[in-house]
Amino acid sequence: MDTLNNFFFIALPYIAFLVFLIGTISRYKSQKFKVSSLSSQFLEGKKLFWGSIPFHFGILILFFGHLVAFLIPKSIILWNSEPLRLLFLEISSFIAAICVFIGLILLYIRRITDDRIKMVTTKMDIFVELLLLFQIFTGMYTAVFMRWGSSWFASVMSPYLKSIFTFSPDITTVSAMPLLFKLHVIGAFVIILMVPFTRLVHFLVYPLDYIWKPYQQVIWNWNKRKVRSPKTPWSIHRPKNN
């Protein structure tokens, strides 16, 4: 049991984060053409709407929920000390989870039944969606049947993850957790591990900067004013503009 715990909660996270880092950077650098959200809306739009919208909004809420619990665990525990507030947090995240769950199932059905979509579905797409389904299922199970779900992340996962990030792994508390909770944690590491090899890279290139950049974009080969000015001395390093 210890070997298993050591593997899943010490070795796996390190492998996952390392592969994630090296993999995504190298995919972004050397296989840029393959970094895309691979939208399939052009072939089928209606079913996508009912899947993609609840799935994405739900998963973003859950993602940020986990992030907050990781960053400010104390406030979450404090918040949860009042049963009503605990209930509120549990219910609102559960609604998000249901959105993700339903959305994902619809997306999955669309992937395997729609003739056109089948043509743009890779094995990896199927794998990713099954993995995410597994993840959301274990997460929801934890939330429903183990009533401390939301505090657990703050009290157990936060210190554990911190210990991982500070290279002094401490797995005593995680190892003592129920099986389904553990599966949820392992699933998370597998997802992180798989990001560079799947379509999941798309959320790393979220174009937030679009909000403040100007509408128009013009690119010159060289700095247009300087390049022909007689005052600019000729050198290999001419004034660049892009």
Binding site: K34, V35, S36, L38, S52, I53, D115, Y210, V227
Partner: protein
């Protein structure tokens, strides 16, 4: 003044014969690939008709282009907050059925089928799924179908025409049509660029060609919505958007783009325009009535010493300035004022201009009373015994314009944002040149009348001859004045040219395969 140079185009619609050679030339070079089968970077539409994708001009459906709001322009269907919120599912994205599902035929059946009682057929199969389909649409599905209820009558440009006027256009005897070849307009205020969240689309500074960087495109598919001309296409195979590249690899080596080079009717002209980039925002946000005038005013006189000086200061090469001075498009657009942008009301400031068609407009039936004509039709030879068909010469000079077969309002909805006077002006110019040339070659017209008609539209004999030359006789080098591309600058950017060895030629070493 911030002078920039732009490769611009003029299509002379009077000359287009609707042969689609241009579309095929483009398809063969650029879009004969998986995921791109349905794309026609160059397509030729029959007008009146619904076009490709179906009813693309109806922005209530497609939400393309810019709209004016509070003295500025903003994207109608994509853009900023709207774009980012709709990123998971774009509600205004056209789907493949709005274009057509690409298909081929199972030709092998014809050869390999075992002997059967019935005739073997080559069934159509979808090029997406490979399964048999019933073809409902195809490229140029409505070719030459002017007057048909499914196509012509659904043309969005009829919006301001009365029911009577529309009906009159569809009467068999009066039915008329013309062809509208379309490519990307390489706009000055491109909506596609404005809508791209990952900033993959850009305008090249040197020549104004609008390109999509295939390595930066992330399939957020906003450009497809934003381009009001629907000239940015989504490649469902690679998961990247693509558009007309104005054959830049050809332009850079001095060749005309393939569609233009192959054009049978020689309707296409290409040349440099110098324009004042500091005005783009203002012009795009100007009032509906001033839109065209202001767009024309942005285009600068390449002979003006002040313009030349600021062009040089801005790093525009002497060779480019020279090309701008010889540009055939400058002549059509500015000097003669005969070319107009397609749908200026989309506010993208398109750089492809059209000389509106004269023939279907002007050729009227001498006897407009259709009823009385019915009787004169020979029932067997289907021929009018009285010469009542076409009449293009008449004493009133421009008298027939108003009761032309193709209502001016229809043309105005296409090319001048509803301004009929502007269309009338250009049509009159086309007419005056014809009168002048008839006077020169046949000499049977009243000389005074010819001189008067030229004067009325602000032309003189010399200009009319120049228009005639460029319209009818111009050789390749007159129609395409391509500035040297100065690619040495781009090559130098990689500093060591050996970097480019072994690459696909456009700096693309990676196999353009779909991601996982």
């Amino acid at each position: 003044m911030d002078v920039r140079s732009q490769i611009s185009m003029v299509f002379h619609l009077d000359k287009c014969i609707g042969c689609h050679t241009c579309s095929i030339a483009c398809k063969n070079i650029w879009t004969d690939r998986k995921g791109a089968e349905y794309m026609w970077w160059n397509n030729v539409e029959t007008k009146p008709g619904t076009g490709y994708p179906t009813k693309w001009e109806n922005q209530d459906i497609y939400k393309g282009g810019w709209e004016k709001s509070m003295g500025k322009v903003r994207l109608r269907g994509a853009g900023k907050a709207k774009g980012l919120l709709n990123i998971f599912h774009n509600p205004h994205l056209p789907v493949i059925d709005d274009y057509y599902e690409p298909f081929t035929y199972k030709y092998l059946n014809l050869i390999e089928s075992p002997e059967e009682d019935t005739q073997v057929t080559a069934r159509p199969v979808s090029m997406i799924t490979g399964k048999p389909i019933d073809i409902k649409m195809g490229p140029n599905w409505d070719d030459d179908l002017s007057g048909t209820p499914d196509y012509a009558r659904n043309d969005p440009n009829f919006k301001n025409l009365s029911a009577g006027e529309q009906e009159a256009m569809f009467q068999l005897e009066r039915m008329s049509m013309f062809y509208l070849p379309r490519i990307c307009n390489h706009c000055l205020n491109p909506a596609c660029v404005g809508s791209c969240p990952s900033r993959a689309i850009y305008k090249r500074g040197e020549d104004g060609i609008v390109l999509i960087n295939q390595k930066v495109c992330r399939a957020w598919r906003m450009c497809v919505t934003a381009c009001p001309y629907k000239k940015s296409y989504y490649n469902w195979g690679t998961g990247k958007s693509e558009k007309c590249i104005l054959c830049y690899p050809r332009l850079e080596s001095g060749y005309a783009p393939a569609c233009m080079h192959s054009c049978v009717g020689r309707i296409r002209y290409l040349g440099v325009l110098l324009y004042d980039a500091s005005q783009i925002e203002n012009v795009a946000a100007s009032d509906d009535e001033d839109l065209i005038q202001k767009q024309m005013d942005m285009i600068l006189d390449p002979f003006d010493p002040k313009v030349i000086a600021s062009a040089k200061k801005n790093g525009i090469a002497d060779s480019t300035i020279k090309a701008a001075q010889q540009s055939p498009t400058y002549k059509f657009i500015k000097e003669w004022g005969m070319a107009l942008p397609l749908h200026p009301e989309y506010r993208t400031l398109p750089m492809l201009f059209y000389v509106p068609p004269l023939l279907p407009v002007m050729a009227t039936l001498a006897d407009n009373d259709v009823e009385s004509q019915k009787g004169t039709l020979n029932p067997i030879s289907k021929f009018w015994e009285r010469a009542t068909k076409y009449d293009t010469t008449n004493e009133h000079i421009f008298g027939t314009i108003d009761d032309a077969r193709m209502p001016l309002k229809y043309l105005a909805n296409l090319f001048s944002n509803g301004d009929e006077e502007l269309i009338k002006e250009t049509i009159k110019k086309l007419m005056a040149v014809r009168l002048h040339r008839r006077d020169v070659t046949v000499g049977d017209l009243n000389k005074e009348m010819v001189a008067e008609s030229l004067k009325e539209v602000g032309l003189n004999a010399e200009m009319a001859d120049a228009i005639y030359y460029l319209t009818s006789l111009a050789k390749f080098d007159d129609r395409f004045v391509i500035p040297p591309a100065h690619r040495e600058q781009a090559i130098e950017m990689s500093e060591f040219t050996g970097d480019r060895k072994g690459s696909a030629g456009f700096g693309f070493v990676e196999k353009p395969a779909r991601g996982l």
